[in-house]
């Protein structure tokens, strides 16, 4: 019973807010180019369905490819750094610089240097997403149980055996927690990049279309883009969360299933 209430409560809250919004807009006779009500936004979603779907496909494509690139290059880079203290000392500060530099300030240069706008978006989204992967994976690689390391050494494990059978699995939880953060950042990176790059036409993403619609005072359409972007972020996060639980559920505390955790004697 209480579980059902817990699940429905957030929806009920959202519904109340939306209803108040709709009523407020109607009662105050607010024009649609200032603030459209939820019903108008849903209307825009269906009127512009094809248009929005096209933009959504571009944004999702960039976000996911950039996330995959960030995951693979970030993990590889972290592994490289973990192999030598010198490499970490020399290279890690640059990873930090990459992280603290707002991508908006880098975007103009990337746009000048790279012709293909899709590649521009990928680079910028990758830049936004890669740091938590590097940082978390590196932390994981450095927290591998020293006794397990000794054991692998004692049993004459090769470098490859140690990498795949010890380092990879014991780093996985940290990598996945980096990935969950990177998922959101990749979407944010894509959105910012689209807005800065000012793409237009068929290959433009949802954020570009949002900007375009707001210039034309088509606020219902702009807000429809906004809603879609929010939902997309939610879906990406939930998917990564699910993936993480699935991969770790047998052994890691973070994904512990209450019914089988704890001690059995």
């Amino acid at each position: 019973m209480s579980r059902l209430v817990n699940k429905t409560l957030p929806f009920a809250f959202g519904f109340v807010v939306l209803a108040a919004w709709e009523l407020g807009v109607r009662a105050g006779e607010v024009p649609e180019y200032i603030l459209p009500g939820p019903i108008a936004i849903v209307g825009a979603l269906s009127t512009h369905a094809a248009d929005l779907a096209q933009g959504w496909a571009v944004t999702v494509q960039v976000t996911l490819i950039a996330l995959l690139l960030a995951a693979s290059t970030g993990a590889a880079f972290a592994f490289l750094l973990s192999q030598s203290r010198l490499a970490e000392q020399v290279l890690f500060p640059y990873a930090v610089i990459l992280q603290v530099t707002p991508i908006v300030t880098v975007a103009p240069f990337v746009i000048i240097w790279v012709d293909n706008i899709f590649v521009v978006l990928l680079i910028l989204a990758w830049m936004a997403a890669v740091f938590p992967i590097i940082s978390n994976t590196l932390f994981g690689l450095k927290s591998v149980d020293l006794n397990l390391r000794d054991m692998f050494r004692l049993y004459g494990a090769t470098k490859a055996q140690t990498a795949f059978r010890l380092l990879a699995p014991s780093t996985l939880p940290h990598f996945l927690s980096g990935l969950r953060i990177a998922g959101g950042l990749s979407l944010i990176g894509t959105v910012v990049a689209e807005m800065v790059a000012g793409t237009s036409g068929e290959r433009s993403g949802l954020a570009s279309r949002l900007l375009e619609a707001s210039y034309r005072l088509e606020l219902a359409k702009a807000l429809a883009c906004f809603v879609l972007l929010g939902l997309t972020g939610l879906v990406i996060y939930s998917t990564l969360e699910w993936l993480s639980r699935r991969l770790l559920r047998n052994w890691h505390e973070s994904a512990a299933d209450v019914s089988q955790s704890g001690t059995r004697i």
Partner: protein
């Protein structure tokens, strides 16, 4: 007397931080014997064990073995069970074999034999976090014996367990040893545990560790848990405790 399985000659160790862990130590371990190292914490017992296993190079001195160790000839049991949390008991136990390139089916079979020898068959497919501390230690022992090691090194393996579990594991370890006669070098700071298990007890001084006493335990094998209740056992414990107190005083007067 035949050639010892392990011979440490003038082995000493100083850590890079200039902390001297071990004074020069001479120690020979006969094949098939069960030898315990007893001493206060921080006396360099673990360092000595790591040197014996080859995981740590001594600063000075020479380590000689009667065999050229191949992977699996030496096994180490840590104070912590040190299992891979992402793998089942069976996978943990078969790891040493898999690393050595033993075929998957043979590794699985030998792992199951080892698991049944420590009484954990029911839990072969369980993950470490589903097990109690004592069961985890059983799995750790199964992994150590799966390769049928020449030298079994145990670093306070039962220190974190409650007394009942500890006694039970002592009994079972002794049964396994009596049946297989691996050479065991066992570190503990429990006198009762050392006396119950060992043929020979080496008492160490506080850091930097040196050998204060080297005594054999005058209790016949096979030993069973009833032994703990008798006078002979209490007498042996008293002897070792005296030697240990003497060693502590040696350390204090030197400091």
């Amino acid at each position: 007397m035949s050639e010892p399985l392990l011979d440490l000659a003038h082995v000493s160790h100083t850590f890079p931080s200039d902390v001297r862990a071990l004074q020069p130590i001479d120690l020979s371990i006969a094949e098939g014997s069960f030898v315990s190292l007893v001493g206060p914490s921080g006396c360099g017992k673990s360092t000595l064990l790591r040197i014996a296993s080859g995981l740590l190079k001594p600063t000075e001195g020479r380590v000689q073995r009667s065999f050229v160790p191949r992977p699996g000839d030496m096994a180490f049991v840590f104070q912590d069970a040190t299992l891979m949390p992402w793998a089942t008991v069976a996978r943990n136990v078969s790891l040493p074999l898999e690393l050595a390139g033993v075929s998957a089916s043979e590794a699985r079979e030998r792992a199951h034999t080892a698991i049944s020898r420590v009484g954990l068959s029911e839990f072969a497919e369980a993950y470490p976090r589903q097990l109690s501390g004592g069961m985890r230690m059983r799995a750790s022992i199964a992994r150590a014996i799966v390769t049928n090691p020449r030298l079994l090194l145990m670093d306070e393996p039962f220190a974190a367990l409650d007394e009942f579990t500890r006694f039970k594991l002592n009994d079972d370890l002794l049964d396994l040893w009596q049946a297989n006669r691996w050479t065991v070098l066992f570190v503990t700071h429990s006198v009762r545990e050392a006396v119950f298990l060992s043929e020979r007890i080496v008492v160490m001084t506080p850091r930097p560790g040196a050998i204060a006493a080297d005594m054999s335990v005058a209790l016949p094998f096979p030993r069973t848990s009833e032994l703990r209740l008798g006078h002979a056992f209490a007498d042996e414990c008293a002897k070792v405790t005296l030697a240990l107190e003497h060693a502590l005083n040696l350390g204090r007067s030197a400091a």
